[in-house]
Symmetry: C2
DNA sequence: TTGCCCATGTAATACGTTACATGATTTC
DNA sequence: GAAATCATGTAACGTATTACATGGGCAA
């Protein structure tokens, strides 16, 4: 369901696009919120067309199909946004490592945390670069882009993770015996 | 793979347990980090026994099977913790709603955010209650419990979400035209 | 004896990842 | 003409959810 909503949201905001275009958008725009590859996207677009949420209005070179959102499609996103209560089944390998940290020796735990810090730092830099692009576009157009708010949320969460890493490493260094 | 590691981690820290016990632990301990129901846990335990990571050392009433972790199982968790680089395929319905917020009218967006704030607040209270339990246990035993660090992380993340909600609601209220 | 919790399993379906497969167009 | 990128699809496999199915033990 959520993949469908994400695709409809992109089509609704940016206008008609092909499966290929949408796959690209997933990589470099909605990526920090929802992920999908082309092998999931193409079949889903097929089903959505069958269900009348989108239509193929035009075809480009190389069999490129341009999908356009229908009024039913627009209604579907809107309804999901307003009515759907988000379910959050938490499933994070990083958090699982945090959970199991007490099974490691202090030195090992510190190494795991240092590795996590490096990847978290890299993630933060990626998100901040994206945010610069958003700021520039907003200055030009005068209104916020799709993804503006979730980007801010992602950056705040990533900074929080970094703060937790620092705290935790300091805690383990100061009292290794408590573990 | 991660489900397997989570189960091994619980068996390694708390000692022998049945599938039923582990299902309970998932509900009220590891829940904020990884989720699974009994219909996923029972078959996985069967496979893990086949793979020699756990064994059935005892059987209780009603066909209750008590699984014990083997040295291979212990080695497996340890290896995963030390070597495995966590993959984080982000997939959050709440974040997707944040992402798509610009497709809504300001009033609708505010309603969505208010609903999210209520559920986030409830989640925070649940985590803080769990943390009290951890603190009490730590005072008794003198060392940290499994899940201590990830609980702190979860609480920090949830507080950050709450702060983001307040920011965002204030922003939309002050300049509804930018959307 | 009725209802609740303990306790384990399977089946159907849905969702997601990796790998396989193919070919057109553009750019160097 | 070789390489990169555009462009679409399917198949196999793995993971996760929901529903179905069954029965023992204990307490009111």
């Amino acid at each position: 369901m959520s993949l469908r909503i994400a695709l409809l949201g992109l089509l609704s905001f940016f206008g008609p696009a092909s499966g290929y275009d949408l796959t690209k958008k997933f990589e470099l725009s909605i990526n920090h919120v929802w992920q999908a590859g082309h092998s999931q996207i193409y079949p889903e677009l097929g089903k959505m067309a069958t269900d009348g949420l989108i239509t193929v209005e035009a075809e480009g070179p190389r069999g490129r199909k341009i999908y356009t959102i229908t009024p039913e499609g627009t209604a579907e996103v809107h309804r999901w946004m307003v009515e759907h209560v988000p379910a959050e089944p938490m499933r994070s390998e990083g958090a699982l490592q945090a959970f199991l940290l007490p099974v490691l020796e202090p030195q090992e735990a510190l190494a795991v945390l240092a590795r996590l810090r490096a990847s978290t730092q890299a993630k933060l830099e990626g998100l901040e670069a994206l945010q610069q692009v958003h700021h520039r576009r907003r200055a030009e157009t005068g209104h916020v882009n799709l993804g503006h708010y979730s980007l801010e949320l992602g950056i705040m969460h990533t900074r929080t993770t970094l703060a937790w890493l620092e705290n935790t490493m300091a805690e383990i260094e100061s009292e290794p015996a408590a573990r």
